[in-house]
């Protein structure tokens, strides 16, 4: 691969409430065994990108823990490999508020010291499988200066108001780009995945940041739109991002669908830091339907339409429906859990009822004892 990768993992969301108080979005647990960043990181690794920088900022402890060894993604290399860039925070202003472009600019030596011709920039907050080689080939074939990966969200049920909305001409050249528009002109959103040549990126950053412009979309893409060839690359596969409680719930539940689940069960696999837990154990009265179950989980009760992470305990008589239960949580006897998100290491004592609705799932925070 003639490209290096940059993963933006600094994001945090007010709309994820307590789930994000303890971790960056990129470290959000997804689909029983993974964290969100595993998807982008595995995509980079399986696209044969040998040098990847992860830029972190907000609540990065759990992310650092997760990335403590790069070997799970084959990125523990003597040449290249995984780089983690953590910003320094000044007393009056935090790095994040200066913008994504600034976070790359602060690490511009990474770009300058590399020799690869291209840079793939991707957000670490999204869940999808993509071969970046195809995007790069398209970028070269189009003679583009910047290629933005786009997805038509019509029919996905996701509200495009939350995203960057773009329009293109018949050749897929960008004609307009609006961030979180009130009246969107199309259903094509930016997935926050960009291909750009390394030297052009360095030039644009050096022309922009010192003047006090720090945003990637507004200050790098939109300001230069008139004299750059910017193209859209249409992505048709599964994609979701974890920017709200509902989106988090939906993304997990999407993996109960066999088409989405095939992202996990077909090559190239999504890799994660392993946790050598024993197989999941189903005792005599267990009843488990349409659910994902992580390793080390022990089930005596009933689990339906739910996603259980590793080492969860569901005691006898407990009923879990339409819920996400994260690692090492304990569900006591005869509990009823319905439309809930139970964060890590929570304890729900015997007989408790945690019942939310599909639109407003109840969230039990990490380590909470109910």
């Amino acid at each position: 691969m003639k490209a290096i990768g940059i993963i933006l993992a600094g994001g945090n969301s007010e709309r994820l409430k307590s789930l994000c108080k303890v971790r960056a979005i990129a470290a959000m647990p997804v689909a029983s065994s993974y964290r969100a960043i595993d998807f982008t990181l595995s995509n980079m690794s399986s696209s044969n990108i040998k040098k990847v920088a992860v830029i972190t900022q907000f609540n990065s402890r759990s992310l650092h823990d997760h990335l403590s060894s790069a070997k799970w993604w084959d990125l523990d290399r003597k040449e290249g490999g995984l780089y983690i860039f953590t910003p320094f925070l000044s007393s009056d202003n935090s790095f994040w508020f200066r913008g994504v472009a600034d976070s790359i600019y602060q690490n511009i030596s990474f770009l300058k010291r590399s020799h690869e011709q291209y840079v793939i920039i991707a957000s670490g907050d999204a869940v999808y499988k993509m071969d970046y080689n195809k995007v790069l080939e398209y970028h070269v074939a189009k003679g583009a200066d910047i290629t933005i990966v786009t997805k038509d969200m019509a029919g996905t049920g996701r509200d495009v108001h939350d995203f960057g909305v773009m329009t293109f001409d018949e050749d897929m050249k960008l004609t307009s780009f609006e961030e979180k528009p009130i009246e969107p002109k199309s259903t094509n959103i930016s997935l926050g995945i960009y291909v750009i040549s390394r030297t052009l990126l360095i030039k644009l950053l050096e022309n922009t940041i010192p003047k006090g412009y720090y945003d990637f979309v507004k200050d790098i893409i939109l300001r230069n739109r008139s004299h750059l060839n910017i193209y859209g690359y249409q992505f048709d596969g599964y994609w979701n991002t974890l920017n709200s409680i509902q989106a988090y719930m939906q993304t997990n539940m999407d993996f109960l669908n066999s088409d989405v689940r095939s992202i996990l069960t077909t090559e190239p696999y999504i890799d994660t830091k392993p946790s050598d837990d024993p197989p999941a154990k189903f005792n005599t009265d267990a009843e488990v339907k349409n659910s994902l179950i992580g390793t080390g989980t022990i089930i005596d009760g009933s689990v339906k339409n739910s996603v259980l992470f590793r080492k969860v305990t569901v005691s006898e008589g407990a009923r879990v429906n339409n819920s996400v239960i994260m690692k090492s949580s304990y569900i006591g006897k005869n509990c009823v859990i319905d439309n809930a998100i139970i964060d890590k290491e929570a304890v729900i004592s015997d007989g408790k009822q945690i019942v939310g609705t599909a639109d407003e799932p109840v969230v039990i925070t990490k380590g909470q004892v109910v």
Partner: protein, 425 residues
């Protein structure tokens, strides 16, 4: 390399022929156990949990699966700069034709150079055949406290069983005065577990001495009796916890089945003394809307649409709709079609069982080719095997290789019969 107080030598070259078709293409230590593990994971994990970070694994019989599984030792954090895991295969020396490992002690003798390079004071000898959790550091303390030359881990067995083991006759302090290999009339019930700690310079001298007289030098037959004769200090170290030999089809099946009890005697679910294995495949398991999974353990990546009861299912197994799996062990990567019925079967890795196959019914005729191996009603299907749709298979049967319906008479394989495709490997 930094000097080591104690290193381990793990004998993993044995075939384990009583496991029948399961060891056709891999050594016994590489046979899967408890779903996602392989037998060798238990002694390997015991080593790292006991602080032994230098392990030589001696391979000989069918080493491919073991080599791939162990690699550079990543699963056990043994990919270290000092020590770590080394796979030791038989090799040629200058001016010799090269020879196989002809006995347990001979295998160690042939690797004296490797041990010398690690400069240990003590060497732990292990076999890759048993399921147990044991703190070798506690055994080393015992060895040092008693100023032993050799410490032999022993299990208290019943007097009836004793004649099947190497038996230690010891005084009231557990100091060994006599060793008897499979005695007809045992004097004690302390059975050797095949786990030894030797003070290295003593073992080194004994190996070199014994090699002069025995080309097939063996610990039980030669080294231990010779050291006793020479007045060395040998102690028995009593082990009182769970320890299972899974050397036969029936004992292998039973040890797996014990794990699915609500409170199994052997606990894999405690964080203390974790068992590590190669975890290169991570997806969660999925149970479909019509699936039923009860009294079973199921590993990652499985896609279960049928019904599973009282079974042990390894990684990445798929079970189609309408299938009923009972009292069975299914290993990694198997694909079980729709409406398949399995009763008391062991299916080795990456095997495909097509739709409407039924196995494990009928009478209990022992296997005609190997009645001493397959005689307890368990039907065993080898690895990378194909059983075509609609075949009805009885008890004590063996199938190996990519079979087609022409390999069966009237789509049936009666109890005790085998279909083994030559050269299927």
């Amino acid at each position: 390399m930094r000097k080591k107080e104690m290193m381990a030598m793990l004998l993993a070259g044995g075939q384990g022929s009583r496991l029948g078709i399961l060891t056709m293409d891999k050594a016994k230590p590489a046979v899967a156990f408890a779903g996602k593990y392989r037998i060798i994971d238990f002694p390997m994990s015991n080593c790292v949990n006991s602080g032994v970070d230098t392990v030589g694994v001696l391979t000989q019989y069918q080493p491919l699966t073991l080599n791939q599984h162990i690699g550079i030792g990543v699963p056990w954090d043994l990919d270290t700069k000092n020590g770590g895991v080394s796979i030791l295969a038989p090799h040629q020396r200058e001016g010799e034709r090269g020879e196989w490992y002809s006995g347990t002690a001979n295998a160690i003798y042939q690797n004296i150079d490797y041990i010398d390079a690690c400069r240990p004071e003590y060497v732990l000898i292990l076999s890759g055949d048993h399921i147990y959790k044991m703190d070798y550091a506690a055994m080393l303390n015992f060895h040092k406290q008693n100023n032993c030359d050799v410490t032999i881990a022993v299990l208290e067995v019943t007097m009836e069983e004793a004649s099947r083991f190497g038996i230690m006759n010891a005084d009231e302090n557990d100091k060994i005065y006599e060793f008897e290999e499979k005695p007809e009339h045992p004097k004690s019930n302390l059975a050797s577990m095949g786990i030894y700690i030797f003070t290295w310079d003593k073992l080194r001298a004994a190996l070199i001495e014994d090699n002069k007289t025995h080309a097939d030098s063996d610990f039980g037959k030669h080294i231990i009796p010779a050291m006793l004769n020479d007045g060395a200090t040998l102690y028995a170290y009593r082990f009182k916890d769970y320890w299972k030999d899974v050397g036969t089809i029936e004992s292998y099946w039973a040890a797996n089945m014990e794990l699915i009890r609500t409170l199994p005697e052997f606990n894999l679910y405690e964080d203390f003394w974790k068992i590590y294995t190669n975890s290169n495949y991570q997806p969660p398991m999925y149970t479909g809307s019509d699936a039923e999974v009860k009294a079973s353990i199921v590993s990652e990546g499985c896609q279960i649409y049928g019904s599973i009861e009282h079974s042990v299912i390894s990684k990445s197994v798929s079970v189609g709709e309408g299938s009923v799996i009972k009292d069975s062990i299914i290993m990694e990567g198997c694909k079980i079609g729709k409406n398949v019925h399995l009763d008391r079967c062991i299916i080795d890795q990456n095997t495909v069982i097509e739709d409407n196959v039924s196995m494990g019914g009928g009478d209990n005729t022992p296997n005609e080719l190997k009645p001493n191996i397959y005689n307890t009603g368990i039907t065993v299907i080898g690895s990378n095997t194909l059983v075509p749709a609609g075949i009805e298979v009885g008890k004590n049967c063996v199938i190996y290789g990519k079979t087609s319906s022409e390999d069966y008479v009237d789509n049936k394989l009666p109890s005790g019969q085998s279909v083994i495709i030559e050269g299927a490997m």
